[in-house]
Symmetry: C2
Subunit: 82 residues, 2 copies
């Protein structure tokens, strides 16, 4: 058993409207950041887990996403294991 | 001017208690994920911006974090530009 660190980014699917991102973009513009566009807001999780190898760890985290962390109807996710 | 994609992960500083992460960890344990520990919950932003080069883009996003996206008292952030 080795210890792995997992980072998970959860974002709304492209087809889903993101009012939070839109509000942040407006705030950025009003602060003078005219060069920014297309802001999307999401969630970030970091966790530690024990697994035999990196592939097991990846699969285990994928299972956590599917069962608890992510709403597959409106959200997508990416996992990085280190 | 080139177009860059920025990804920003905002997490609570290690010294700050994370009740959301603790609750998620308890939920994971009750779902049978005993192999997980140390869950930290945070925010994730993705945005597009125009800049002359990658260093300018990085600095610009850093400025956005310092001015709007991050509360430096309790949060830390990491930026990746592509």
């Amino acid at each position: 058993m080795k210890t792995f660190n997992a980072k998970i980014n959860v974002t709304l699917k492209k087809s889903v409207l993101d009012p939070q991102g839109k509000t942040i973009l407006e705030a950025l513009h009003s602060l003078g950041f005219q060069d920014a566009s297309d802001v999307r807001a999401g969630k970030h999780f970091e966790l530690t887990l024990n697994a035999n190898n990196e592939i097991d760890a990846q699969n285990r985290v994928k299972e956590m996403c599917d069962k608890l962390l992510v709403n597959p109807v409106i959200e997508q996710y990416e996992i990085s294991i280190s």
